[in-house]
């Protein structure tokens, strides 16, 4: 298919899509007039049933917990996929020509800013990750913030330190442990005769960090998994940059 033909198909199909879309939108309830019953029901019930003040996470880790289990394994599989696609065959010799310089020039200011920036990032990551049941946040967001701490190290220091922190095997083991612990928490209620992913832990006081039962625990497990998965992806990509060959012009 030539570029011109592809553009032609788009210019015909695009307006048709837009027309049908406009027709659909004009029959939707007007913006700001949400009518669905489910959102209201959960917003009313989550605080009483689960002692979780953040209803979004109550949905993610409890009411829709099974979906999030699948979502977590999408993340797991994708991280493994990136690692497998970009792995280096050990036997294949890589040409030394055109290697990227491993050590970027560093200013003292960057080096001095590293420690406070790391401290803030790590504390903020744990705060977001552990308060998912109370305020917006949770495992996914906290995990991503924690994983960026390693990028700070990479930016401000050399790759050797970065590699020591994101040691490949340890990260893989932690990732697998985080992913499987969610599944194990889900299976646990089955052993005592309850449905999958039932919230069996004590619910605690509403507004307390240790509240909402399974929601807080699953959120923490997801946080561990997301941190490890993103560390794995970041490590794999940066390794690709550091050891990847650049073809000569």
């Amino acid at each position: 298919m030539t570029d011109r033909l592809r553009l032609g198909i788009f210019l015909i199909a695009g307006p048709v899509f837009l027309g049908l879309y406009c027709y659909a939108v004009l029959n939707l309830p007007p913006w700001g007039q949400y009518r669905g019953p489910y959102g209201d029901m959960i917003a009313r019930l989550a605080v009483y049933e689960r002692h979780a003040t953040d209803t979004v996470n109550a949905i993610n880790y409890d009411y829709r917990g099974f979906d999030t289990l699948g979502e977590e394994f999408i993340l797991f599989t994708a991280a493994i996929g990136v690692t497998m696609l970009l792995r280096r065959e050990k036997d294949v010799p890589t040409a030394a020509v055109g290697k990227v310089a491993d050590r970027p020039p560093l200013s003292e200011a960057v080096r001095a800013a590293l420690s406070p920036a790391l401290l803030i990032t790590v504390i903020f990551g744990f705060y977001i990750g552990l308060h998912g049941q109370l305020t917006p946040g949770g495992g996914f967001q906290g995990g991503v913030i924690l994983a960026t701490a390693s990028v700070l190290v990479y930016l401000a220091d050399n790759t050797e330190v970065f590699k020591r922190i994101t040691s490949h095997v340890a990260v893989e083991v932690v990732e697998a442990a985080g992913a499987s612990s969610y599944a194990l928490i889900g299976v646990m209620p089955i052993l005592i005769g309850l449905p999958l992913l039932t919230n069996i832990l004590p619910l605690g006081t509403t507004g307390d960090v240790f509240s909402a039962g399974n929601i807080a625990l699953i959120s923490a497990c997801v946080g561990v998994e997301v941190t490890a998965a993103f560390l794995l992806v970041i490590y794999t990509y940066l390794e690709e940059i550091v050891t990847g060959e650049i073809p000569e012009e």
Binding site: D3, R6, L7, F10, G14, L18, Y21, C22, V25, L26, L28, P30, W31, G32, Q33, Y34, G36, Y38, G39, D40, I42, A43, R44, A46, V47, Y48, T53, D54, T55, V56, N57, A58, I59, N60, R64, D67, T68, E71, I74, L75, A78, A79, G81, V82, L85, L86, L134, T135, P136, F140, V144, G207, A229, V233, T236, Y237, E240, G244, P247
Partner: protein, 118 residues
């Protein structure tokens, strides 16, 4: 409120979708394609949040508001969270494929991909 504003966010979503699609159709660089796909997918965030929005509704977090306060729909927000996570990993996976495609074929143009075998 003029009638067009009743559906403005839906049209914003469609506009972002079409921008991403146009970029994908006319793309001459694989990384450009991946970014366009990410833009295309971000239209779903606007659409989902627009569907769940309610005039005067608070955020569905009852840490500092009384239970029973009128809020926007938390279900679509949870769906959007899933969407964001999936988009992030899909982009990571696709970029890895771009690196591999470049290593195998020596080109980053999508039109050169059809010569690849196996």
């Amino acid at each position: 409120m003029p009638p067009i504003l009743h559906s403005l966010p839906y049209f914003v979503a469609a506009w972002i979708f079409c921008c991403g699609l146009y970029g994908l159709v006319t793309s001459r660089h694989l990384i450009h394609s991946v970014i366009c796909l990410a833009i295309l997918q971000s239209s779903t965030y606007v659409l989902l949040l627009a569907i769940g929005y309610r005039t005067g509704g608070a955020a569905p977090v009852f840490a500092d508001i009384a239970p029973g306060t009128l809020t926007v729909d938390p279900v679509v927000q949870a769906l959007m969270l899933t969407d964001v996570v999936v988009e992030a990993v899909v982009v990571a996976l696709l970029l890895a494929m771009v690196v591999k495609a470049y290593e195998k074929s020596g080109s980053v143009s999508p039109s050169d991909l059809r010569t690849m075998r196996g």
